[in-house]
Symmetry: C2
């Protein structure tokens, strides 16, 4: 645990993401300027490249630490194998700082699978949690909803979804200051008897939990904002997330078709450009700062591969909140109060 | 089998759907005018109500049959139970005509679960098919993709997805005249080793099938049109379908927000109205005429509850194509050629 008086220490993987290291270094510079008085940032990766980027940004004098690592895990590498084979990769080195209590949180826009695998290997999971989950924010007509899991677990048991509900509820309430977020179980049909085997079993556990459980919600209810926290397995969540991310390009194509045949539509599209920009922003979950890996014994935030500097800065803000609010302690306490399986039972149940 | 020379006989549930009987009767009138020379339509439901609607539409003289049924299955009724309890419902009576070979196809915008259950009970399934599936068209940047299953089966086995691939491929090729549609398996990650237990097992079966198998596709690939036929279990398919249907309302809300604060955006929205109308149409799968229940020993088409008269007319067109092209015979032949389970094995495998 860091002493209450010291700065929050955040390690950032400078080499991960489609626009690394530029976008990451530029994001760290924005974050340093925004949060520098109580946050200490460390960029991990190729030292020469990072320092060149800092100098290009006229940020060479900022108090941002740089730690050299000689390896990079590519976006397409096989996750678990790459973590084993590259102990001096920016991801593994940066997480190692947290393991040694030299940092409080980790941020990466790199290979999602590798970040997940390395976080589990290096930091481990919270004792009360069977499976960590990735939580991503979706825009809604009312604001934002946290959907989890969006890809950490392809096959889940009811106990996993139950824990996702508790973890998601705590995370949402701490991020948005909403005391009692509505937790919905993503299913087909609203009645508790509707859904697949997994959701029917999960409904029972979630109904009995100390949660503001809104019951089953359907695919159409996500964007309507019917729930603040949407629970699903990582297979369904990942498909919905990627489907949602593709809407922007699809709409663009439809509008381009109209515009080609219709001058008035062209003018309309120009006048509506701010609305489309707003939409694009709303559909880009990176703008929310990244997706936390909830249930890890530490703080690990996965950013979109195409993260902008602003998204990285927002991820730093999110990491600060997770550390300050001691979200992991809250998760452990809530899971204990709800009779989550003890670790010895976990192995048997999986 | 109907003699080649006679008209195609289509029975329409006049009582099902949010705007029944008006919308259904009006759709039948449109269909009669479009296809009447080789199609014989029968409306099933409350005779007095149907005839009143026909008269309101100045269509009392059209050669549309009306068969009275005294019961209606409501949109919210429990599916299997309602079918058992209401033998004189419009759904059960209309399907009974097909069972007695007095009709070739059935269309309903009523309770989806009840249509599905009644179709299975009254018509049964094709011998080679373990589980029928609902196929729905999604708009794509290139045209349209058929996604199946979108709700008939919440929990599936690999054998089911394999059969959905074969049935979907045949259906798509007959509707669009595309000889060799690309069949994609909806999963997370493109490699065959990625996905959940179901998709990994299904990938093996689909790879070995006589199909233009495009491998795994991701959530973002649906709207891009990366596959013509998208295979998934009915849980995932239903969630994606309903999510997609909600995009229109979400976008409307975002645009309204911009318009409230920005006069130029308001003008832009007016000028772009045709594009939005196009989008709305593209996102409304009812415009494709409805969703066939593939694998049934007969023709049963499920329309959206909010179907417009035009959607009902399009569903009649779709039903005609299914009958004319003898799609069920093609499905049986293709499944036999691909070593689908025989019926005796089906029960054991489920």
């Amino acid at each position: 645990m860091r002493p209450e008086t010291s700065k929050i220490k955040i390690a950032v993987d400078a080499m991960g993401g489609d626009f690394a290291p530029f976008s990451i270094v530029a994001g760290a510079v924005l974050a340093q300027r925004a949060y520098g008085n109580d946050t200490e940032l460390t960029l991990v990766g190729d030292k020469a490249q990072i320092e060149a980027e800092l100098n290009n940004l006229n940020a060479g004098e900022l108090p941002i630490n740089v730690i050299h690592s000689s390896q990079v895990i590519d976006m397409a590498e096989e996750a678990a194998e790459s973590v084993r084979k590259k102990p001096d990769s920016s991801i593994v080195v940066a997480l190692g700082l947290q393991k040694k209590s030299e940092s409080d949180a980790f941020i990466s826009a790199g290979n999602t699978g590798a970040v997940m695998a390395a976080s589990l290997i290096v930091l481990g999971r919270l004792q009360a949690v069977n499976r960590p989950a990735i939580g991503a924010f979706f825009p809604t007509e009312r604001g934002a909803a946290l959907v989890l899991d969006v890809g950490a677990n392809s096959d889940c048991k009811a106990q996993n979804l139950f824990q996702f509900g508790l973890m998601g509820s705590i995370y949402f309430s701490q991020i948005f200051g909403n005391e009692n977020p509505r937790v919905g179980l993503l299913s087909i049909g609203e009645e508790k008897s509707k859904g697949n085997e997994l959701t029917i079993a999960s409904h029972k556990l979630l109904s009995a939990a100390d949660l503001n459980f809104a019951g089953n919600i359907e695919g159409r209810d996500i964007l309507k904002g019917k729930a603040d926290v949407v629970i699903c397995d990582g297979f369904v969540g990942n498909i919905i997330l990627k489907f949602a991310e593709s809407i922007d390009s699809f709409l663009g194509e439809l509008v381009r078709r109209q515009v080609r045949v219709n001058l008035l539509a062209k003018i309309g599209a120009l006048l509506l450009a701010p609305a489309f920009k707003d939409l694009k922003k709303n559909l880009d979950y990176a703008e929310y700062g990244g997706a936390p890996l909830l249930g890890i014994n530490g703080v690990s935030i996965i950013c979109h591969g195409k993260s902008s500097p602003k998204a990285i800065k927002n991820a730093v803000g999110m990491a600060r909140t997770m550390v300050e609010r001691k979200i992991n302690r809250l998760i452990e306490a809530r899971l204990a109060a709800n009779g989550s399986f003890a670790p010895s039972e976990v192995e048997q149940s999986q």
